[in-house]
């Protein structure tokens, strides 16, 4: 049963990855017994499943995802939120408060106005309607300080790392609070501007080199070096 690449090779759309008794995993598709890549990325052969880890992608909402969004519209029943996705998300007023609420437009914009940033969770999404958000859980809500970094959503898994290994190192070494939105937006809140700057640098480095190995060590080294410069 032939495979045509090695693990972690870079492949392009249309590349024939495998032929025979294989299963088409992420970012691949199947025609008869042939598995092809459908995105630019790193090919991964996991037993019989062939995946492609995309190098660049946009965010498609998934129920349960933590996302960071920006309010773009206030209306009678809630807000429309840009979550860096092809689909505009909706945050209903009922999902912003724990008590029953009677909508009045003026009041809503006092709570969240156009331009405000929020940490939210996706509670519903399917092919027939736009994603619905909630900010009712602890830790969610308006973002009042810190910085936002935007990366390609494809890099989020690498920034989090296996079992959160990369993100814990980042938090520890930069002394920052870092919340990673699945939609590619990351919120950094540190003791001071310098700590936040180093965190941003580290995240950008991971985004650029996500497809290489030995990254964790290099990022740690970089952070230590940046600190030493001061």
């Amino acid at each position: 049963m032939p495979v045509f690449f090695e693990n972690r090779d870079i492949v392009t759309p249309g590349d024939l990855l495998a032929e025979g008794n294989f299963e088409a995993g992420r970012n691949t598709y199947r025609v008869d017994s042939k598995i092809y890549a459908c995105k630019l990325g790193l090919v991964e052969y996991k037993g019989r499943i062939v995946n492609v880890v995309a190098l660049n992608t946009f965010y498609i909402p998934s129920v349960g995802d933590l996302v960071i969004g920006k309010i773009v519209e206030v209306n009678l029943h809630g807000w429309n939120v840009d979550i860096n996705s092809p689909y505009l998300a909706t945050l209903r007023a009922s999902e912003a408060f724990n008590k029953p609420y009677k909508p009045q437009k003026n009041e809503l914009s006092e709570i969240l106005d156009i331009g405000d940033l929020v940490q939210a969770k996706i509670i519903a999404f399917d092919r027939t309607r736009n994603p619905l958000l909630t900010i009712r859980e602890p830790g969610l809500g308006k973002i009042t300080h810190g910085q936002i970094v935007k990366v390609s959503p494809a890099k989020i898994p690498r920034i989090i790392g296996r079992k959160g290994s990369m993100i814990s190192i980042l938090k520890k070494e930069t002394h920052c609070n870092i919340t990673v939105g699945q939609n590619g937006l990351i919120h950094i809140s540190g003791r001071n501007a310098e700590d936040e700057r180093i965190a941003v640098l580290a995240i950008k480095k991971i985004e650029l080199e996500a497809h290489t190995s030995g990254l964790t060590d290099r990022v740690t080294e970089m952070i230590i070096k940046e600190r030493g410069v001061k």
Binding site: I10, T12, P13, G14, D15, L16, N27, Y29, V31, Y36, C38, K39, L40, A54, L55, N56, T57, F58, P86, Y87, L88, R127, T128, S152, A154, L208, E209, H211, T212, G214, R218
Partner: protein
């Protein structure tokens, strides 16, 4: 009667020094515009063409949205300074036709069903034109779509062949296109052996057409390899520099 220009000399060499089955020099670059979701740039001979993709995103106006898939909108446009005699910026009938055939070449490549109710907006701007701009436009647009992270069945590549002074030639330049006997642009997806764009103007016997068509497909396959390389280039360069740095330790 005006002197007829000789497009191919006795040795089979063309006006720009090429042999009949030779492509013009091609340069491809991916990810050249920071605002677009995906972008790419091509130079093919004197052609200079930029492509950018915005999307998938919400459709405006809303009534154009399709419930079960994304729509692909394509605008092929030539800059006023792209040709010898200034071209008016208003869309010409030729640009309208080319926007349509280019879109129909790229649509079958994208898994549009995965993004219902959205639109993918593709812009192809010809900054300098020297024959074969629709083929080069398809080639660069396909890279912009891949750069945007859209799921695709294959890259779409395009190339033209034709008949000039009795020879069947590959990749006609502007003067060969204008003064030659026939021009056959073809867009192709090599992995799945599918033709998405095919046009012809001029006069060819069915046998000559088959020869030109097959030559165009051959040109497509060669350009396809260049497309793949250019998509990977940025990432391979990073990988190399990282591995070098590690070795130096």
């Amino acid at each position: 009667m005006a002197e007829k220009i000789k497009l191919i000399d006795e040795n089979g060499i063309r006006t720009d020094g090429r042999k009949p089955d030779e492509l013009r020099p091609i340069k491809l670059e991916v990810g050249v515009l920071s605002n677009a979701d995906g972008s790419a740039y091509i130079e093919q001979g004197k052609n200079k063409i930029l492509a950018a993709v915005y999307g998938p995103k919400e459709v405006h106006p809303r009534h154009l949205a399709l419930p079960d898939r994304a729509i692909l909108r394509c605008r092929y446009h030539m800059a006023p300074f792209s040709v010898q005699e200034r071209k008016s910026p208003a869309p010409s009938r030729r640009e309208t036709e080319l926007s349509k055939v280019i879109r129909e070449a790229l649509e079958p490549a994208i898994f549009l069903e995965r993004f219902p109710r959205t639109s993918i907006d593709l812009f192809i701007e010809v900054l300098q034109a020297d024959g074969g701009t629709r083929a080069a436009g398809v080639t660069v647009a396909s890279l912009a779509l891949a750069d945007a992270g859209l799921p695709m069945r294959d890259l779409v590549v395009a190339c033209a062949a034709g008949k000039v002074d009795g020879y069947i030639v590959l990749d006609l330049n502007d003067i060969e296109d204008k003064e030659g006997m026939a021009d056959v642009p073809v867009a192709y997806m090599p992995s799945i052996d599918a033709v998405g764009l095919l046009q012809m103007d001029g006069q060819l016997t069915p046998e000559e057409f088959e020869e030109a068509f097959n030559l165009a497909l051959e040109g497509c396959r060669r350009i396809y390899e260049l497309q793949k390389q250019s998509l990977k280039a940025k990432y391979l360069a990073i990988k190399e520099s990282v591995e070098e740095a590690v070795e130096e330790k």
